[in-house]
């Protein structure tokens, strides 16, 4: 890759730049900052859309009363039940059980606080999901 071929597409970097190694005119490798690459944007978009779609589905399931808000907040942090279980110090099978709204509603404050701490939200936020 030559220095002038380093992609400079406007993508999702928010003004940040990444370093690329490319050849300058004398054939020497130099670091060239890249503003983004549209190919990267496509594959990143694919993954981000997938996450967003599944988060939206969970949110609707919570509003419909099929899942507990805990499932939503876990997904929002891109965690899996296993990661959440380790972070909160609660066994994975209990975490999965707490995805059921009835069981989640009866949880003690101390358990909720551990989840809130692990997910970096307040206990009030943990009990609800955004309406839209």
């Amino acid at each position: 890759m030559k220095a002038n071929e380093v992609p400079q597409d406007e993508t999702y970097y928010n003004g940040e730049k990444r370093a690329c190694y490319a050849l300058n005119d004398e054939g020497k490798y130099v670091v060239v900052p890249s503003a983004g690459w549209s190919v990267e944007e496509i594959v990143n978009g694919l993954a981000v859309d997938e996450l967003a779609a599944s988060l939206e589905e969970t949110r609707k399931a919570v509003l419909a009363g099929v899942k507990s808000p805990l499932a939503y907040h876990m997904e929002r942090r891109q965690m899996t039940p296993e990661i959440l279980a380790k972070t909160a110090g609660i066994a994975a099978f209990r975490v999965k059980r707490h995805f059921r709204p009835g069981i989640f509603a009866k949880l003690k404050m101390s358990v909720l606080e551990r989840y809130a701490q692990a997910l970096a939200v307040t206990t009030q936020e943990l009990a609800t999901v955004p309406q839209k």
Binding site: M1, Y21, Y29, V31, V39, I42, A47, Q78, M79
Partner: protein, 343 residues
């Protein structure tokens, strides 16, 4: 490039790097007065690799890696360059943070392994649960720390709360608050010997691992998987392919990025050994990097359904097979060339 200071008042020059771990290792060495470039660290630490792990899942998709496992570059580079490093990990977050503050007060900069999701100074779409991101902490500020993240252009501020979460995140490859800093560094490391052992190790890893998922064999295995996936469900195949390209170009530095960086290393080494063969290999590596990028472009076209008659899974897999063939030849040549060098 931007200058900042450590808590000892010593100037620290922030260099924009393509990869976090090599960048951090190079920064730690430079801070001790050893001028070493990022590609040099990659070459000496044998950072270039390939592996496809179909049974290790990350967000439900198999992992393809274009680099050696996190931590290996640092460990190998430190060993081969003769640097004594203090490495510590902690169970208790409070202890880990106290120790970090204590070391920073002595004027020493510290490398940390962190979870990239909790580092809120990154743009949102960079953030995902990955426990292998390396950063350098320069000094403490009010409510946080001054951080030199090698993949960003400038040093940034990081909140204490974020840093604690990032250092003590749980999940696969837990960092356990892993921190490292040099205790003593050989001021005049023997770069030639280090380069030779780095290159030999790389050749062995790429050519000699007797498992079909690592090195050149791994590339062929993955290429065949891609070609086969074209016959199955299109959406699922796109997910898989998208993930491979994402691993290649975005997560960390990417496959092509590493190939270019390794080419830069070969170029530096060619100068050091005054070897024409090495500089030819550097050019070949650049060409291979270009094919990896072409693979990414073709894959993106497949996913976007542009020109489906021509841009097929067979073509994408074919490009990867070309990469595999050329890299195999390159590393065999490199092995031959290196065996003639004397330290």
């Amino acid at each position: 490039m931007q200058t900042d200071v450590t808590s000892g008042g010593k100037p620290f020059i922030h260099q924009h790097c393509a990869h976090c771990e090599t960048g951090v290792t190079a920064a730690l060495f430079r801070d001790k007065g050893v001028e070493i470039s990022e590609p040099m660290v990659l070459g000496i630490g044998s950072g270039i690799f390939f592996g496809h792990l179909p049974f290790v899942k990350w967000v439900g998709l198999p992992i393809s890696t274009y680099r050696s496992q996190p931590g290996a570059v640092f460990r190998k580079a430190a060993q081969r360059l003769g640097g004594e490093f203090v490495t510590r990990s902690y169970r208790n977050a409070q202890k880990g943070m106290d120790e970090l503050r204590r070391v920073l007060k002595t004027g020493q900069i510290v490398g940390l392994r962190t979870n990239i999701y909790w580092l809120s100074y990154f743009p949102n779409r960079f953030r995902f649960q990955f426990n292998g991101h390396n950063i350098v902490v320069l000094h403490e500020i009010e409510n946080g720390f001054r951080v030199s993240d090698p993949v960003l252009e400038h040093p940034v501020d990081c909140l204490t709360e974020d840093l604690v979460r990032a250092r003590f995140a749980r999940g696969p490859l837990e960092p356990h608050g892993f921190m490292y800093y040099p205790e003593s560094v050989n001021p005049h490391p023997d770069l030639r010997t280090a380069c030779i052992s780095g290159m030999k190790d790389t050749c062995n890893m790429m050519l000699k691992i007797p498992l079909p998922i690592f090195g050149i064999r791994g590339m062929r295995f993955l290429a065949k998987t891609i070609i086969r996936s074209g016959k199955g469900d299109f959406m699922e195949a796109c997910r898989q392919l998208g993930n491979i390209v994402r691993m290649q170009e975005e997560v960390g530095t990417g496959g092509a990025g590493f190939r270019y960086m390794y080419a830069a290393f070969l170029q530096e080494a060619a100068e050091m050994f005054a070897s024409d063969e090495l500089s030819q290999l550097s050019q070949e590596m650049t060409a291979i990097g270009d094919i990896w990028r072409e693979f990414a472009v073709v894959s993106a076209r497949i996913i976007k359904k542009r020109n489906p008659a021509e841009e097929t899974f067979a073509k994408a897999g074919g490009l990867m097979l070309v990469c595999a063939g050329r890299e195999e030849a390159l590393f065999k040549d490199l092995q031959r060339v290196v065996s003639k060098f004397k330290a």
